[in-house]
Amino acid sequence: MNRNENTEMQLRNFVNTIYEAIKNEDIPEVRIKSRTRDNIVLDNIYGVWKYGEQEVRRTARKMDGAEFIAKSLYTINFILDMLKESKSSTLREMYYISEGWKDFKFSSQDESNVLSEDMEVLTQLMREDFHLRPEENGASIIGNVTIEEKNRKNEFKRINCRDDVGDAGYNIPYNVEAEKVHLISHDADMIVALETGGMFDRLVENKFDEDFRSILVHLKGQPARSTRRMLKRMNEELGLPVYIFTDGDPWSFRIYASVAYGAIKTAHISHWLAVPTAEFVGISASDILNYDLPTDKLNDRDIAALNSELQDPRFQNEFWKSEIETMLKINQKAEQQALAKYGLNFVTDTYLPEKLNLKR
């Protein structure tokens, strides 16, 4: 059975449970793992955070449950049509296609995104299996790693991510699975993933990749699935350690958590996406104090986010607790670029070597 056939079977099985329930004069219902912060637990085999055992029941007895089931059926119908015609669509396109579903159209893009994630959880498939893809592209890579990517002519084309690319680097496609991307070889000691484009460009200009034998990955803020999957593959298949270099604020802490521990929204595929050994070399609250960095005051949303992180099971360790509490206490945050206070070379000559040596 090929991948498409498997997807089709899984989706039909789901539809069948609904159909059978009505045929047996019962009320259809769907049980789905609860996708909240309170239902993520550490998976000891993979070392990442996944959904626990809590379930929510969506029953057709209630309005919202019945609407969920009906919309799921419309979504599945649409996916099956795409599989048959070898088409794919973006999540946004699907949202607009639902306009034609009248009473069962999505009320927001968010609703359709959440529903497609729910379908993943229910069928244990990935949205790539559904031929759905995100709007945003993965981010970019610069460094001495050679890959092969299948192009539109269905030929694998070899690319060295240092020599064969421009200043913007190699652009990570939305599908980075083996059918699309092969990892061939590398000559590097580590991967440094960066939150902001400014810092990515700074490290490229300062030739950090050559001087410190590293592969630079631009995360573009909260990284897309394909970016995280690429980091995961390079980490596992090439055996390279991953370092995450972010700003120093609560949102950056979450970027690190989603790369290293797994994101709450996609905890069902954390084993597929997360790099549990990834280390944080971003700006910490201690760095703000130790390096005497220029800062901004925390706003109300920042403070709420930090307090929420104190309740987040993924942050329940000594390091994060003390960093989060310190940040709340000093009531300040700082950007990566704040290091430029000490000159353009400070980050590559001093900050990163210090941070990385410390860990090495």
Binding site: R12, V15, N16, I18, Y19, A21, I22, K23, E25, D26, I27, P28, A60, R61, K62, M63, A66, E67, I69, A70, L73, Y74, I76, N77, L80, D103, F104
Partner: protein, 614 residues
């Protein structure tokens, strides 16, 4: 020496002189208030005059700016007009006298207010006022330019001349006075708006100093019913009043004094009262002693008397309140118009009074702001001193949370999308001050307002419950009539299988008979009632539909599972917002029916009662 100085200080002053020095007593205490009071007095007089003569009022109120702080008020009415020789008395003389003998509900202060306005204008601008008036019997109108001779309390007439006037009958008053024109909640415009609410038979045009005009159109062609003057009721009579009455009285003896001056007193009851007080019935009134008067007052309270007649009361009326609120507040598209409710006739200090309450709710009225309370005393809007008014007190002491409105700790003015009209009326309403801007919060009045409020608000609770039920039912209906069939259809389409029979699934979810109403608005307004059986069994029952205009009894027999029955009714005849039919069932367990209630056991009895009264 001291004696002498005292008598000099107490030299007699005329009433107009007194007013000149104490203008705040009648409300002329600020520049903004002055213009407002002037309009209020003129409008009240016009409406009273029209009401007395059964005329549908037509008023044109104009405020013009003369200079920085001087305005001219002009109020033109289509009233009966005033006889020429009466004009100086009506406008140029402050009348004072005990109105103890007149027991009648009116808006105005019997000439006191408008004369005060003329005096105020004269004091502040030095200018006289212009009065033009014409009766239908007169060929010409008479124009006066007059003011007040303050020392002698008589009119000071500058000119009096006949003029040709285009109006058939009516009176126009023009007064120039110092003042400040404002807009907002306590403005002339707001006052006229609230006047329009309770006078839907009046057409009121207002032209503001910028020249822009607002017209409150007449929405009902029916003159207001006027109150009848009645004699005072002896309950609430005070010793001093009785003594002064007895000195002024022309009656031959005390028995006659009571029969002639009071209502509800026959010769027999007068004798009973006087005997009980041990006072000679034949005694001359002028010889009545204070101690005897006290005894009489005491015995009045012990003798059973018929309560005061309601004839002296002039309600706005249920119909006027409904039509008035509809036409003035209709733009806010309220979802619910409460049926106006009036209480019984109550007595405060021997004086009859009553309370009427109306309400509109929902629609585009703001739900995050305090409810608007519009207060009226004797059909006159009260815009000031809300804090010390009986109406405000009654509202604050009512727990509004039980009616689905917000209220902090169950006290104070409630929050919610409501306009509540409260009207207290009677020949002698106690006011907080002479300017009559707030009703004194005496317990009889406050309690009566609270009690009528309760009845009015019960309607709102029923309405809100019905909305809530309909909403829930609408959702459930959509669930079983649309979504479940669609789930069955779509899943079988995907699987390329036959559509399964989903009726059992639906009856497991709903297991009720739905009764629902939809309003259709093509080729006339129609109410469509659907009865759908979502239970497993056949059902039979009786359905009573209560439309605002009629009742309908339907027999529903052997309605099969998953079958439906519909009934259409033309509702074009419903004026204003149609708030829906009410449904009642008998002959079925009411738990099995959604959208209808069990018919109250006393339904038919109520009908009998009504018939007996007719």
């Amino acid at each position: 020496m001291q004696e002498k100085r005292k008598s000099q200080e107490f030299k007699q002053i005329s009433i107009s002189e007194f007013f000149e020095k104490n203008r705040h007593i009648l409300g002329f205490d600020s520049l903004q208030r002055a213009l407002f009071i002037m309009v209020k007095e003129a409008v009240d007089n016009s409406l009273d005059a029209c009401e007395e003569h059964g005329i549908l009022p037509g008023l044109v109120v104009r405020m013009s700016k003369i200079s920085n702080d001087v305005y001219e008020m002009s109020v033109l009415d289509n009233g009966p007009g005033i006889e020429r020789t009466q004009v100086p008395k009506a406008f140029g003389q402050l009348l004072y006298g005990s109105r103890f003998h007149v027991m009648r509900q009116t808006r105005g202060q019997q000439g006191l207010g408008i004369t005060a306005s003329i005096l105020y204008g004269q004091i502040t601008t030095g200018e006289f006022s212009h009065i033009t008036t014409k009766r239908p019997v007169d060929d010409v109108a008479y124009h006066f330019e007059l003011g007040l001779d303050v020392k002698n309390n008589v009119a000071n007439i500058k000119t009096e001349e006949p003029v040709i006037w285009k109006e058939e009958h009516g009176t126009e008053v023009k007064i120039r006075a110092k003042g400040k024109y404002i807009t907002g909640r306590q403005s002339i415009q707001e006052y006229l708006k609230e006047v329009a609410v309770v006078n839907p038979n009046a057409k009121i045009t207002f032209i503001d100093p910028d020249g822009s005009s607002t017209v409150f159109e007449r929405s009902i062609e029916e003159p207001s019913k006027q109150s009848k003057p009645v004699k005072p009721h002896p309950y609430g009579l005070e010793v001093g009043e009785l003594l002064s009455l007895s000195t002024e009285s022309q009656s031959r003896n005390l028995k006659e004094l009571f029969v002639e001056n009071f209502s509800r007193i026959s010769a027999n009851t007068a004798v009973e009262i006087l005997n009980k007080a041990n006072v000679d019935v034949e005694k001359r009134p002028s010889e009545l002693e204070r101690i005897e008067a006290e005894k009489i007052i005491q015995s009045i309270s012990e003798v059973k008397l018929m309560p005061p007649s309601a004839e002296s009361l002039s309600p706005i009326s249920e119909q006027f309140i409904r039509v008035g609120m509809l036409s003035v507040y209709g733009d806010e598209r309220p979802g619910f118009y409460g049926r106006p409710i009036s209480g019984a006739v109550r007595i405060h200090k021997g004086n009859p009074f009553s309370v009427e309450i109306g309400m509109v709710y929902g629609g585009e009225l703001p739900s995050d702001q305090p409810a608007r309370i519009i207060r009226y005393a004797n059909k006159v809007p009260l815009l000031f001193q809300a804090g010390s008014c009986a109406i405000t007190e009654a509202i604050s002491e009512t727990d509004w949370r039980q009616y689905g409105m917000e209220q902090k700790q169950g006290k104070g003015v409630p929050y919610g999308p409501a306009i509540i009209l409260v009207h207290v009326f009677g020949p002698k309403i106690p006011y907080v001050s002479e300017s009559k801007e707030a009703i004194a919060p005496v317990s009889e009045i406050v309690e009566e307002i609270k009690s009528v409020l309760k009845s009015e608000m019960r309607q709102l609770r029923r309405f809100n419950n019905r909305i809530e039920r309909n909403k829930k039912m609408g959702e459930k209906f959509r669930l079983v009539s649309k979504i479940i069939p669609e789930i069955a259809r779509k899943s079988s389409e995907i699987l390329k299988l036959e559509i399964p029979d989903y009726r059992r699934t639906i009856s497991k979810i709903a297991n009720v008979v739905f009764v629902r109403e939809e309003v259709e608005n093509k080729d006339g307004k129609k109410s469509i009632t659907s009865v759908i059986n979502y239970t497993d069994e056949d059902v039979s029952f009786n359905l009573k539909i209560v439309f605002p205009f009629k009742e309908l009894d339907l027999k529903i027999e052997n309605l099969n599972s998953a079958q439906s029955f519909t009934h259409e009714e033309n509702i074009d005849q419903v004026k204003g917002a149609y708030t829906g039919a009410e449904y009642f069932v008998t002959g079925i367990n009411p738990v099995l029916v959604q959208g209808a209630e069990e018919l109250p056991a006393d339904w038919n009895l109520k009908g009998v009662e009504v018939n007996e009264q007719e």
